[in-house]
Symmetry: C2
Subunit: 325 residues, 2 copies
Amino acid sequence: MLQLPHLLDRLQEYARQHPFPDQPAQLYAPCDYILALGGKRLRPALLLLGYELFADELDAALPAAWAIELFHNFSLVHDDIMDAAPLRRGQPTVHTRWNLTAGILSGDVMLIYAYRALAAVPDKTVIPDLLNTFNRFATEVCEGQQLDVDFESRDTVSIQEYIRMIELKTAVLLGGALEMGAICAHADPEDAQRLYHFGRLAGIAFQIQDDLLDTYGDPLKFGKQVGGDILQNKKTLLVLTALACASPADQAELRHWMRSSSDDPDAKIAAVRAIFDRNEIPRQMAEAQKRYQTEAFQQLEAVRAPEARKKALQKMIEDLFARDY
Amino acid sequence: MLQLPHLLDRLQEYARQHPFPDQPAQLYAPCDYILALGGKRLRPALLLLGYELFADELDAALPAAWAIELFHNFSLVHDDIMDAAPLRRGQPTVHTRWNLTAGILSGDVMLIYAYRALAAVPDKTVIPDLLNTFNRFATEVCEGQQLDVDFESRDTVSIQEYIRMIELKTAVLLGGALEMGAICAHADPEDAQRLYHFGRLAGIAFQIQDDLLDTYGDPLKFGKQVGGDILQNKKTLLVLTALACASPADQAELRHWMRSSSDDPDAKIAAVRAIFDRNEIPRQMAEAQKRYQTEAFQQLEAVRAPEARKKALQKMIEDLFARDY
């Protein structure tokens, strides 16, 4: 059993041995570019850790791990177009550095390469199951992105709808990664399902934490401007909770700020934070996060695998929850 | 063994029994829209005819046939964005009727649904082979689209490069459809390859014919304006052949027309056609088409399947070549 840094080294080696073709350069250079921008390789790491709960020969799972990283990068490139985002990880997005055609087409080909990587899983008997899991979350990620887009132009979004959106857009992919790892290892389907729910519930908890940190993170550690969501008038879970639970006066004030452009950004952030604070929104969110987190770990506990192996997975997830930036 | 109209009825029935979800409506309504715009369902028809060379139980091939139609429609929606095309079959394109996000995301989800349809093929043992074939041509179609885009901004494109582009962009999909049909029927891999080459070569011949008909088709039967390619200064095979074989004076005149906008469209069409005619370009192209067509049918002849069954496939392809519009 390998530790996380070694798992990621093996993944990197697999990727190096399975490069994109050189030509047509305008098609494949953007694929190399987005994949080299970094990122934590969280999804393939989850897949490999899920696999290692039950089996050791990592070669059986590496193609599936690379498939999920390719899928994730496909979705980043297309989402960046839809969000008209100029930057990703401080670098120009693909459609900004190249053009719209490059963004669409390199995203398409990365999605197809994800399926090519799936087809390269050495044990062909697991491919139909892998394909079903992959297709399910791939569909859900598109549905989640559509809901996210829909919500922007809606006046009211319920907390339940919002949770469902983040579940589809990001959480099912984490669950699906773990499930695919279990499938590669021929784990019992019940354990594969528990791992799926572990990743899904942890993913929802991460997203709640993300929303919280965007407004309440440590400015010295947070990579972006703290309060960025407030300035962009984003309907985060903080906002939706406040619109559901705050006093009528605070709801009205929050709606006012959400309609205003920010002549004085600091004043706007301070005012909206004060509304959240007065109504104990951060406490409510931290509680919601904790609930999902606890439920997630219950699922992991129920997985029938050696405790020592479950520890590595548990530690990785706990480290992610320990972020205070 | 069923005749073509019955095959397409069965396909339609399969599609009706496997609809897209209703929600999110903005994601799936464009999928229903593009699939309802019509089209000849050429690719699934080829898949089913390829299957019927070797087997009868159509249920074994219908999901794969629907997969290839979904793939084709994904590529239409994304190509229409890249080409900034306002209309398809006389109706607004998806990104025109909805917006860019709908075009990108509904295309993505149709591609994923194509893989879902593949995963629904009842005989799970053929899925790895189907997946390999599908992934191969899906990649090639993206590469072909990229070459097409690249060629627009290039001064010179060789005839060989152009043929390779149309092979990747459209012909391999026809070959791949036939190959997938053979795979569903557990045909001998050699016969599956012959069918692939039959479709690929016939596909190249169709594209050459398309270029020819755009300038030389019967105005009464041709759906679009005859000479449309000339007015759009498209580097068709007619143009590339003329730039390679015409007299130096005619080459210079053609280059002049290709740089000019059309104040008098009829004059431009007439002048460019005259250049083609003087240099016997239509005859050269008809010969090239015939060569590919002949090679294609040689591949079909070599396929070891009952002659009576090969006839249906042969007739369908011959009917397509008999177009004079």
